[in-house]
Amino acid sequence: MKRTLFDKIWDAHVVAQEQGRPAVLYVDLHLVHEVTSPQAFAGLAERGLPVRRPDKTVATMDHSIPTNGLPIADDAARAQLRTLADNCKKHGVTLYDGDSAQRGIVHVIGPELGYTQPGMTIVCGDSHTSTHGAFGALAFGIGTSEVEHVLASQCLLQRKPKTLEVRFEGAMPEGASAKDLVLAMIAEIGVGGATGHVIEYTGPAIRALDMEGRMTVCNMSIEAGARAGMVAPDDETFAYLKGRPHAPQDWDAAVARWRELRSDEGATYDRSIVIDASRIEPMVTFGTNPGMGIAVTARVPSPDDADPGERAALAKALLYMGLSPGERLLGRAIDVVFIGSCTNARLTDIRAAASIMRGKKVAAGVRVLVVPGSQDVKRAAEAEGLDRVFRDAGAEWREPGCSMCIAMNGDMIEPGQYAVSTSNRNFEGRQGRGGRTFLASPLTAAAAAITGRVTDVRTLLGGVE
């Protein structure tokens, strides 16, 4: 029987499977943060149960922690963070807290510290857990009831999802990035296009991505409705992991094992699609879900031209966004630029943004936040002098956290404002009540920072070293 990468990992983790019931699936790594865990720990306490495997559980503070470096002013957030600290202490769970030199966004520090490894099952009470699939892991978001299940049993009840191969042929042109690749995919298949499926990303354009680019692609799998996204590990993967603090001790044996983690030649997927990466342009979203995306030079679609079933949603989105059918986003004035989030706050993202902003000034009246994904990313960027690039330009260089992606930590846009954001969701109010989000890559966001407008970054690339 020829098996896909997903099948291999799934099969290796099924603890029990009764007729007509979901599988009992073993979890190798459980990542925890402050927002979706308190009720789960409370459930454990009610049952008088311990955390079964604190050694396979890792916690961080990211969602509600402020990024201004000041003491937490919000009482509710402070209480929530204290609850996480108390729970971790009580159960012996490793916590990267506010004072930790390795703290950061859960989906940034997992890979960075070498916790995330090929072949693992990884869960977290956060939908962007799909990020870790970039390493050839089966990684997906779960609800708080399931967080409790995993804390207590290290297992989950799961129905086996279907598989979807998304093959990116060709090579991406200059100015396009991993973010544009995944935004183009979601625009093509829709926000529910991969519901019930695990995506395996294949093809030369995926192989050509570095690990951080692969993480960006896998991160946004959930925005197409996918249960998870994954990329088979290769030398790029192993090189990234080698020497990380929690990488395996028996390194050679681990790599030998990981090399088996690929879909067999001739293995079949439930569905397959092919996308030509050579035609991908810098993308920007115009609407209120991540599937409403267009090439930065394109015109906003008109509800009149849409499928009847999508007409009302499109009209509603344009109304919220204050946009007219057929208009170009190019040149539209913006108020805020956010460079950060679990999608795009790693060192290569920060470098990409800095390459555009070096020696330039932020456009008048525009607020620009650059929020590194972790303390490690922050230190590495500062070692290269990138913080100076942003500060000299007039941007804010902040402490790590989810920041303006989720707008529950003090960082938010004001009602009616437009933001170009490297985060993952442009839902109504996601970045602040009444705020309007254009999702884009770090390059495109940085371009908007210096022009104050939605900009085709390719027009600025000539002068870059």
């Binding site: 009470g125 939908s127 609800g143 129905r159 519901t195 109504e428 996601r430």
Partner: protein
């Protein structure tokens, strides 16, 4: 133990929208708590000020809506808020995966019906908003008084959990020996 779900008869609200994301169901700024209780007060908080928004007073226990309901964030606060408000069932064209799982774990039944059946329900409710629907889990049917019924299908285990109020964690822990054996591999 959760209250078992058998039959539900109630008025229904129609939320005519596709891709309703969990940020709309419960905005992130209400996620700073450490309890499941009271979130209903903020259900659809940012949509409630709109004149055409159907959610006004509590009472209806069934929500009828479009495609891909509950997409986006994995926050279980979404079903907590719906249940806290008083909903016990959501009828939609389709659901996002994580939301569906989270709903079932909180005794909130998710019923996926084809477009034509949803349109029929919506037209009937538009004509007579006080009309009650009956959702019967055992027979997997939605009844519209005087207008027959439509069948739905539900995963057998989800049905069992809802109908019996089964403790899923208890079920998982019944495999303790096999979990331990897996860890020895």
């Amino acid at each position: 133990m959760k209250t078992p779900f058998t039959t539900l008869t109630s008025r229904a609200l129609v939320l005519a929208a596709d891709d309703v994301d969990t940020d709309q169901i419960i905005p992130a700024r209400f996620l700073k708590g450490t309890s499941k209780v009271g979130l209903g007060d903020h259900l659809f908080e940012d949509w409630r000020t709109r004149p055409d928004f159907p959610l006004r007073e509590r009472g209806a226990k069934i929500l009828v809506t479009g495609n891909n309901f509950g997409c986006g964030s994995s926050r279980e606060h979404a079903p907590w808020a719906l249940v806290d408000w008083g909903f016990r069932a959501v009828i939609a064209r389709s659901f996002a995966d994580i939301f569906k799982e989270n709903a079932t774990k909180n005794g909130l039944l998710t019923v996926a019906l084809p477009e034509a059946a949803c349109v029929r329900l919506e037209l009937a409710l538009k004509a007579e908003p006080s009309r009650e629907l009956t959702v019967d889990l055992a027979t997997e049917r939605v009844f519209l008084p005087g207008a027959g019924w439509v069948g739905f299908s539900i995963d057998p285990f989800a049905k069992h959990c809802l109908a019996s109020g089964l403790d899923e964690l208890g079920y998982i822990l019944s495999f303790a020996d096999r979990i331990a054996a897996h860890e020895q591999r």
